[in-house]
Amino acid sequence: MILEKINSMNELKNNKTPYSLWLNSIVGVTVKEKKALMEYFDSAVKIYKANTTELERSLILSNDKIEIINKSRNEIPLVKPYNDMTKRGISYYDYKDSNYPIALKEIPDYPLGIFHYGKPIPNENICVAIVGSRRCTTYGSKAAEELAYILGKSGFTIVSGMARGIDSHAHCGAVKAGAFTVAVLGCGVDVCYPPESQKLYMDISKNGCIISEYPLGQSPLPKLFPQRNRIISGMSRHIIVTEARAKSGSLITADLALQYNRNVYAVPGRMYDTLSEGTNLLIENGANLITSPENMLKLISQNSFRNFEIMDELSHESIDELNDNESIVLKEIDYYSIHRDDIEKNSGFTGDNLTDILDSLTEKNRINEIYSGYYVRK
């Protein structure tokens, strides 16, 4: 038993991670205190090896908490969690690790460490977060996807929360562009939430990475998500909100971003659209106004003192020409759903004619039937 321990200790000689994991999993000592210990002792290894006198001398912990740490050396296994984790391709970086996102360290309550699944985060890339509401219109999702695509093609890393709606579309856009994309989860990195996004989860882990400050197996809890948002804003230099209601988690992310001195951008909407109330509010309060993808790149260039330009290949997708009738009908169809009866009434086309026109518009990928009888513009 002791021999075994010694052997494995030798193996771990040059590996700090198991010690960092051990520090992270101690319950009863606050993150703040753990960070202070890290500062004092310089590494988790040293904290592990420190005796009671040394811990007392640091003047960080009360006697009870020193007792907790002493106990945890026996209670929390050192090697097994580490081995289990690495077997699954997951790594853990404490904030002193070189793989820890640099920008994240700038925020006051940066996490002690992050779990990471997927490819290493390229530090030379600038991270841009694209966030928005879970329930979204095609307008919001299209904006998220297109902006993510263009930013991805220009070499940015796209950060989002893999939630339903806008977040997923942002990741999709980045994946399509072949760009690096980071999903910040409010649960363990090995938990795919929302469960229906299994495919996206796999795509992200191949094209980028999934990170979280929560231990493996942590199930998604509502209270964890606002915490998660601070990592999204912390990692990114620029935050884009495409669609949000007046009271929305995305606005919390944007607020945090301002506190952290990040640049906030918002996609405007019409004044009657409840799903654009949040973004319009941001613009009213001074967020950068995105009027086009080109304009977005220009703004980001200005704000980061570098020059990014839209590459030619993606400037314009080929769009099928519409005939007069199709244009008339398309004018009636909006990003918010409209019923066939209303299209019929407003456009003047009826019956088979209308069916034909709607069919060819769907064929040309301009509209989409989101629910039986209801259409939206794409």
């Binding site: 979204c136 659209d273 759903s337 009866d341 034909d356 989409n368 629910y371 039986s372 209801y374």
Partner: protein
Amino acid sequence: MYFSVKTSVLHGIDSMVVSCESDVSNGMPVFLLVGFLSEEVKESRERVRTALSNIGISLPVKRITVNISPASIKKSGTSFDLPIAISIIGAMGMIQSKDLDRSLMLGEMNLQGDILPVNGVLPAALSCKENGIDIIIVPDENKKEASLVPGLKVIPVKSLSDLIAILKNPLPDVSDIYYKNSETEYSEILGNIPDFKNIKGQRLLRRALEIAVSGMHNILISGPPGAGKTLAAKCVPSILPPMTEPEKILISKIYSAAGIFREEGSLLSTRPFRSPHHSVSKAGLAGGGRNPMPGEITLATGGVLFLDELPEFSRDTLEVLRQPLESHDIYISRVSQSVTFPADFMLIASMNPCPCGYFPDLNKCHCNEPDIRRYMKKLSGPLLDRIDMTTSVKALSFDELKNAELSESSYEIYKRIEKVMDIQKKRFNGTNILFNSRIPAEKIEKYCVLSDDAALFAKDRFIKLELSARSYHKILKIGRTIADSNEHEYIENNDLKEAFLYRDLTWK
């Protein structure tokens, strides 16, 4: 002394003639009642004994045996009191039996000897004709129901003593005066049914319902609360064709068997519209009970079964619809007996698109995707598979509501439907298919022929929408009905395109 009279027992919606025989002979004084009787028939002994003594007939101190034969059929119901009483009186030698050989009687009795109405008089009257019986003795309150069968003499009786008095002489020559041959016109049957002209806007829904009725396709209507789904469904009977004579008899029989026959002096002539509340039980919907009674699906035969707020029905309850929707009848098997009830109805179901009801209007709907998915999951795939058409309605704007202009009336719609039904009648002449919706899978190739460009279009859509074979067949059948309504011999491209409008509920 032996005496026997004829009566009938209800089996499903049909009646079977049975004989009720009594024997009064020497021996230990007992009153025996035999012949595979259910509890309520056995109770009849006490009712008969008391009623007889109350009208001044005391039972002799002898061995009285009453048998209802054949003994292999389970007897249930309350209609045996009268025949038992009469057969005992006959066995006591108080009445003559000459005319009773060709008459059938049924009725319940109270302790005073008054005759009370019973269920299933119409089926009993119909069975008389088949068995060569031409006189029927029924409770006074059932006389109109009994006299609907032409050529049958009806003797209504109010009390047991009346009947004994009548039977002492040869039976009077009562003619079938009550029978009224009711050749109903379309306008007559409408009565209180709401008319389509009152439905403002909703063009897609109106067209969908027209197609659905033309081919008797089942239809699911989805839309926000208050959009008019229920009203539209209630209008549907106004565009159904008038009932034929056999249909009237069948439906009247069902209602008579269920004990809810109310029509005064004529057969039922309005098509049923049944709208059970969503708290309905399995047996309430499908029929059942120890002595099987018809359920809502049987009562809706020949008409419309409307299930409002479909997802609110318990899943188990809805699953019982699966078999009847395919076979158009329901076989109910219980320990005592098994019966087959007809269940040939058009199903109209309505639902909200999501728990709050406003999806896909994102300005109003706050439901998230899992909520909607969970809501939709309340409906099982196999049930949705059996619903041919799906359509959606939208809430009307104030302008549309205020618009005083009346829409097309039910009569105009009906005229078109009549044509489509004629076309179907000609096409399916000589087969047992009645409507396009009833084309079996193996005959689809034969009846649903696509024109060349429609075939190309169908292939394209089949691949794009990843349709299943069943969904595809449903679309072809709807396409057939639309082609009929446009008077196309083959299903043309436009017919098929319209059919795709009514395909399964989709949402993204």
